[in-house]
Symmetry: C2
Subunit: 332 residues, 2 copies
């Protein structure tokens, strides 16, 4: 196999962006050996500027300090870098606004129009404008891969495309938010109230200072939208979702469920476009504890397949992002 | 995408062989549309003869009756058909002897020497001669894919190759035999003795008249051998395994485990080349009930990923076999 050189532009130098670059640095030799792909980073963009190198950035130097302290730092805007830097793939890793999809939506559409392939962990653009993105990708004949947008390290879209490739998904159910799963697990194991479990999750860094995005089911619902489009071929966006979070769940309710062999989980029902607390039998594959995520796929040939793993974490999530980069690279 | 025509020879017209042909017939249009591959069956072989058609067999007619009642039936031997029928892929679906690997081992090596790619569900050849098969495949520049040999419908090898493609597997633990898992689940749920749970499994068709292959851990151990070679890059065969089955497990032992929050499972430990009954915490992802199979992969980037599904069943298993056929076809 002859080595293929692939250039990527990284957009977003936060926790996820740094995680991807750290894993890329660590795994560069492995990826060359196993997949015959040599990944070079031609640029990294943040809101206040970029670093660019057509020969490929030295990742040791870049990771050493904040982006704007890198000596090759310029104030070039992301849009300009996406369009004008020599690259094959734009890797979009910014945090997204679930209402507008921005700034990721513009980055992704700009990249597609510039005939760049896209790999991303940013769920907001897909929760808002899935069809618009995919139609544009088809028109411009580029690949858009978004494995990391749902379930972090857990392969879902690639699992269906590459492994369960003769199957049709008939329905799917998921535990898609690690924070709420941690909170519910703590309430069940320790018998504590929601508020104190949330506080603990915040102390451990699982929950944001404002936990409503997780606790009210917004994050789970955005992921269900993506799965409904990608797995079930629907054409839906966030506003089509029925969403109930876990604020009303009490330790007493969980206790009662437990007595009958059930546990309470925040379940995303992909076919019904619904996120809500549901009873899950304790020996059901979706009964996963702590901050784990899980997805059960009901398929027409393989039957039910459930996959469980880490739904967050910058290192874990980089597994999905870089797998998408490798898959696109092999198709080039 | 232009349509690619691929010819396969099916070796083995038992439950699995019929299942593959039924699924192929049902899914032919889907596979053409989604993957651009038109799969034609040029021959089907059984121990007492074959049916052959260079234009592709009519699956309706073939599935209608036993093989030797098909009007195009000939007494050509399998070896002859593998070598001399026009085909790209040999699909080996015979039952195998775990000591010798035969007759599948000869079929597979014959196919490889004849420069045919191989897709198979037959674990015996790989438990006996993994390295020999793979070395020969490399020398003859053909693909050998064996997803269905472990975990039935559950993607494992393809999951690592295609989805977790930047990861190294550090260790893996599996519930790899549905019969023993059903027996242990029944003992736990109903408090019955092993013998009566085995009898029930036999009545339901989960267990063979002689259940020792399952109950004594032989089947699980053969699968661990394959995973050790394929996932961990070892060079081992069945004789390297340490195997303890579930004959000594009592309902009392299971009850005691339950009181402490554990369940008893027959676990395959891939790194340690061991199959033995182990305590598994009730909220561990490997605690799957009934006849389900599960595999936990400890990976270096994605962390722990667990996949759960049907380890047997001719329809479910055909999902893995046909996915392998499609993957090979795309590489042609």
């Amino acid at each position: 196999v002859k080595m293929k050189e692939v250039r990527v532009v990284i957009v977003g130098f936060g926790v996820i962006g740094r995680g991807v670059l750290q894993t890329l640095r660590e795994k560069q030799g492995f990826i060359r050996g196993k997949h015959g792909v040599n990944i070079k980073v031609s640029a990294i963009c943040e809101i206040d500027g970029s670093v660019i190198s057509n020969e490929g950035l030295d990742l040791d130097k870049v990771l050493d300090k904040p982006l704007n302290k890198n000596k090759f730092w310029t104030d070039k805007k992301t849009r300009d870098v996406i369009i004008n830097t020599q690259s094959d793939i734009v890797v979009e890793l910014t945090p997204g606004n679930i209402k507008t999809g921005e700034p990721g939506l513009s980055h992704i559409l700009t990249a597609i129009s510039a005939k760049k392939h896209v790999a991303t962990s940013n769920k907001a653009p897909f929760a808002v404008a899935y069809k618009r993105i995919m139609d544009s990708a088809r028109k411009n004949k580029v690949s858009v891969r978004f494995e990391a947008t749902v379930g972090g390290a857990i392969p879902i879209m690639n699992l269906m495309d590459e492994c369960l490739s003769v199957n049709k998904v008939e329905s799917a159910y998921g535990i898609l938010n690690g924070t709420t799963n941690y909170v519910l697990s703590q309430m069940s194991d320790e018998g504590v109230e929601l508020d104190s479990a949330v506080k603990e999750a915040q102390q451990l860094g699982y929950a944001e200072p404002d936990p409503s995005y997780d606790i009210d089911g917004v994050d789970s619902a955005a992921k269900v939208v993506i799965l409904a489009n990608a797995l079930l071929g629907m054409d839906v966006s966030y506003e089509d979702m029925k969403v109930t979070g876990i604020r009303e769940i009490t330790p007493e309710a969980i206790d009662l469920a437990k007595k009958h062999g059930f546990t309470v989980k925040l379940v995303g029902d992909v076919l019904r476009l619904e996120v809500s607390p549901r009873l899950v039998s304790v020996d059901h594959p979706l009964n996963v504890s702590g901050s784990l995520n899980a997805l059960m796929l009901n398929t027409d040939v393989a039957g039910d397949v459930t996959i469980v793993g880490r739904g967050a974490g910058s290192r874990e999530t980089s597994s999905s992002i870089i797998a998408d980069i490798v898959t696109i690279s092999k198709e080039l």
